[in-house]
């Protein structure tokens, strides 16, 4: 009888498929994973502590730099927390604009997630490039609105920084008309592709009870068949006014996580279309004192970011700075499932599973 010995391979912190500076210490038996230890913290910048010395407005650009693929969502969750703490009412038009940009951001972020996942499966950048093309259009729209393409700093306490320029709505209209066609193209390229199916179906199955126990959220949770979307479960802003469905997977495998993201893009287009149609006129920013001093108290506000439940916990103490600033980062919590998902699968699957969880290291480490 031949005796085999396990081999330990270190993936990362520099590796093309770890989506940032993330490290996995994986023990293999041949190509089969017997143990996996995720190691993170390489991108820790101490943002939570840093923000305790900034004023409430100054923190907004820092939230851009948490989940840099979904800065708008981060802005959104943070300003919601502050508004809840200070008791500020937001004008209707600002609410609608926030929803429009947040849903566009969800599409942009899912495009990267799906494109990156396909790259992890070994596609030679083609799906990735196609998806980048559509993301580019969204970035064009964001640039039009707020002047930046990645770190938007668009939302303000009490509204948004600027009203949309006149050319925005026609461009947005064109985008939402085009987008479903592009999603069909992705389906044509990927959804029936036998290799994609073979690589992702049944791989890295996350059972619903484990997902709930691990506090997973977002497409990772919904891929396992749990119909939990904060836009519905705990409606914030004006999400109770829109019609949309929550796509859920059946198996909880990597394919379902991919599929849920594709379907969510379709739903986001639907929401943007409704918000565009109902967009009221009026102010985009409530009157807020220049130096905001929220009262004493603590508050937790959460939104459904593209990666899951993104929450900001703030403690106010009558001063211009928050006493405590804490981020509930969905990437980090979803990432803790990695070991359970990977054990027993092969080397190539570990990469695919990591890609299907869709992490952003800047958010994991903060």
């Amino acid at each position: 009888m031949l005796k085999t010995e396990p081999i330990m391979i270190n993936f990362g912190p520099q590796h093309p498929s770890t989506h940032g500076v993330f490290r996995m210490r994986v023990t293999f038996d041949g190509e089969v994973i017997v143990d996996l230890e995720p190691i993170f913290g390489y991108l820790h910048r101490g943002i939570e502590k840093l923000c305790e010395s900034k004023t409430y407005t100054q923190i907004i650009p820092y939230t851009d730099r948490l989940d840099y693929l979904a800065s708008m969502s981060n802005n959104f969750a943070y300003v919601m927390a502050v508004e809840k703490l200070a008791g500020i009412e937001i004008p209707e038009r600002a609410q609608y604009l926030r929803v429009i940009v947040a849903e566009l951001q969800r599409i942009a972020s899912h495009l990267i997630a799906v494109g990156g996942f396909l790259n992890d499966l070994g596609a030679f950048f083609t799906p990735f490039m196609y998806m980048f093309r559509e993301r580019e259009k969204i970035l064009d729209l964001f640039e039009m609105v707020c002047g930046q393409r990645l770190t938007y700093n668009y939302m303000r306490i009490g509204g948004v920084s600027h009203d949309i320029p006149p050319e925005f709505l026609p461009a947005l209209k064109r985008f939402v008309d085009e987008m479903p066609g592009y999603i069909d193209e992705y389906d044509q390229l990927l959804a029936e592709n036998e290799i994609v199916l073979a690589r992702s179906k049944g791989v890295g199955v996350l059972p619903a009870d484990l997902a709930i126990n691990a506090s997973a959220s977002g497409p990772v949770l919904r891929g396992s068949g749990v119909r939990w979307d904060i836009r519905r479960a705990d409606p914030y802003s004006i999400y109770d006014r829109f019609e949309f469905e929550i796509p859920v997977g059946k198996m909880g495998d990597t394919y379902d996580r991919y599929w849920v993201r594709i379907q969510e893009m379709r739903q986001s287009v639907r929401i943007v279309r409704q918000a565009m149609a109902e967009l009221p006129q009026g102010e985009v920013r409530a009157k807020v004192p220049a130096t905001l001093r929220p009262p004493q108290g603590e508050v937790y506000a959460r939104i459904e970011s593209p990666r899951g439940e993104l929450g900001f916990y703030l403690v106010g103490d009558d001063s211009p700075h928050p006493y405590r600033f804490k981020v509930r980062a969905p990437s980090l919590i979803n990432l803790t499932l990695l070991r359970d998902l990977c054990i027993g699968w092969k080397l190539a699957d570990a990469i695919a599973i990591l890609g299907s969880i869709d992490i952003v290291l800047a958010e994991v480490d903060r």
Binding site: I7, I9, N10, P16, S17, E31, T57, Q58, I59, P61, Y62, D64, L118, L121, G122, A123, F124, F125, T126, M129, Y130, R133, E136, K137, D140, E143, M144, V145, C146, G147, Q148, T151, N153, H162, P165, E167, R174, E178, Q188, L189, L190, A191, E192, N193, E194, I195, V196, L197, A198, R199, S200, K201, G202, V203, Y255, K346, L347, A348, D349, I351
Partner: protein, 526 residues
């Protein structure tokens, strides 16, 4: 008789026999290798441009007209790089591996007929020679993986061997069908036997050979040993400089060789009307190569166990069946009339349907309406993208206009309006604005103004905070410096700078600004 033998015979009349054998061999090697180098360059160029177009990019177009010198530029870049040998690697094997990987690919060309008489040596076991030689390259790859002393490379080396064993058998069996029809192992006789291209008489054999050959070439979807996203280039992770370029060359030479073999065995080789035979062969070679990189730019990669399962459970039995059917046909219709073509196409389709029905993709039985169709659909989609306008631009010459509100890299400061209130400095989240003022006749005069753009977030909060409209974001988007200190911009520089204020926080300015360049909707060309 091949060209080489004729040359040797001629020389034997004048020179001693050792020289008469050695000199033609050296001449042949030089001629062949320079020709191959030329074709490989064309391959690299076509692939890089072609993949670019599949991905709606422009592709490399800088070096020379239409980027035609890109392979030369690539080669020079690789050659001048430092040659690194890992300290824990095996020096000698590390050095030897690229040579062993390259030589077999080159040696295949000895028996490829470029025309009825244009063949170096028409040995009567040509195809057997190819099979024997072409799998030798794998030893070089295995050695490289072992000698690198890198775990990724080791995994890659093990995968190579597993892949070779799985694919070599269906590859050989699929050739056997061709051999039965042509009745010869010699490459020239095989071409001459093709009154109808064998792709029509042996459709199933062709498919199996093509798939198995893709696997032997380590091309997507079977590029397990390079697997950029998993094992980071695998066996050549630790190679650089000349040795890396030899691996690169070996890969493309092998691709050329395999394309030539496919063209010879199944696409009737040099045969074709009007054009000279060698040109016909090259046209067919390039067509085969285009299909190879078309697949590469469409498909993801299979997993190790799936690949071996596919080879052993899919290709191997099909290749065996194909062999039996061809043998039976050889007994029933010994002349292989053209009517057989219809029968064989039907048999091939039927067998693929039946066989794929037995397969399970991820636990689900695949039926024909899905098997192969998904891949075909994807290939069709990437093909359509070939005719779309590329979305990338030629950057320094072709510039995009940023949005009127663009938050660019330098601030525009208006000295006249600034009253030195320091609101911007207070608003800045990273405290990079440094203003010192002194009392003047009408109010405060700014004495020093320093902003460290090396740390700027471009958040725009300073501009929003300014009560007197003296600070603007700029619409420039290029910033580069070798020194960190030069990113600290001082008052004098602000005054001297060319002012291109952005409309950020000043919507009134927007009206006269040029419109933002938006990504145009993709038009089908023409």
């Amino acid at each position: 008789m091949g060209v080489l033998e004729q040359f040797q015979h001629w020389l034997l009349g004048y020179w001693p026999s050792w020289a008469a054998y050695l000199v033609p061999a050296i001449v042949a090697f030089l001629v062949l290798s320079s020709f191959i180098l030329l074709v490989v360059m064309a391959f690299i160029y076509i692939e890089r441009r072609g993949v670019g177009r599949f991905q709606v990019r422009l592709g490399p177009n800088r070096a020379g007209p239409l980027g035609i010198l890109q392979p030369v530029a690539d080669a020079i870049k690789v050659l001048v790089k430092e040659d690194i040998i890992p300290s824990r690697g095996d020096r000698r094997i590390h050095w030897l591996a690229p040579i062993i990987a390259f030589m077999p690919a080159l040696a295949i060309f000895a028996v490829i007929p470029f025309g009825p008489r244009a063949i170096f040596t028409d040995i009567n076991i040509g195809i057997l020679y190819i099979i024997a030689i072409s799998s030798l390259g794998v030893i070089g790859v295995f050695m490289a993986g072992w000698a690198s002393g890198n775990k990724y490379s080791l995994v890659s080396a093990l995968r190579t061997v597993a892949q070779l064993i799985s694919y070599e058998i269906p590859l050989m069996l699929s050739i056997a069908g061709v051999l039965i029809i042509s009745g010869s192992l010699s490459m020239v006789s095989i071409v001459e036997a093709q009154s109808i291209p064998f792709i029509l008489l042996q459709p199933l054999g062709f498919l199996i050979f093509f798939v198995a050959a893709t696997a032997e070439l380590n091309r997507t979807p079977f590029d397990l040993l390079e697997a950029e996203s998993e094992i980071v280039a695998g066996y050549h992770t630790e190679y650089s400089g000349m040795k890396f370029s030899l691996f690169y060359l070996a890969e493309y030479t092998h691709a050329f060789a395999i394309s030539a073999i496919v063209a010879t065995l199944f696409l009737s080789g040099w045969k074709g009307p009007f054009l000279p035979p060698a040109l016909w062969l090259m046209i067919k070679v390039f067509l085969v190569f285009i299909v190879l990189f078309w697949a590469r730019s469409t498909l993801p990669r299979l997993r190790v166990d799936q690949l071996m399962g596919f080879a052993w459970k899919g290709l191997f039995p099909l290749a065996l069946l194909n062999l039996f059917i061809t043998a039976a046909e050889a007994i029933i219709w010994p002349g292989f009339p053209w009517q057989l073509l219809i029968l064989n196409l039907l048999i091939a389709a039927l067998l693929i349907v039946l066989w794929s029905g037995l397969f399970r993709v991820a636990g689900e039985r695949v039926s024909f309406h899905r098997y192969g169709r998904g891949i075909a659909k994807g290939m069709a989609l990437t093909f359509r993208h070939l005719f779309r306008r590329p979305i990338t631009v030629q950057y320094p010459e072709q510039r995009l206009t940023p949005a009127p509100r663009f938050r660019g890299n330098l601030l525009v400061w208006d000295e006249e309006r600034c009253n030195g209130c320091r609101a911007c400095a207070r608003a800045c989240p990273v405290s990079i604005i440094d203003i010192e003022t002194k009392k003047g006749d009408k109010g405060l005069i700014v004495e020093t103004l320093e902003i460290d753009f090396g740390r700027c977030l471009f958040c725009g909060l300073c501009v929003e905070a300014c009560p007197v409209a003296a600070l603007f974001m700029s619409r420039d988007y290029e910033q580069a410096s070798y020194f960190r200190e030069s990113l600290v911009v001082k008052k004098e520089q602000f005054i001297a700078a060319e002012k291109r204020p952005s409309a950020y926080a000043y919507p009134d300015l927007e009206a006269e600004m040029p419109p933002q360049t938006l990504l145009a909707p993709p038009k089908e060309k023409g």
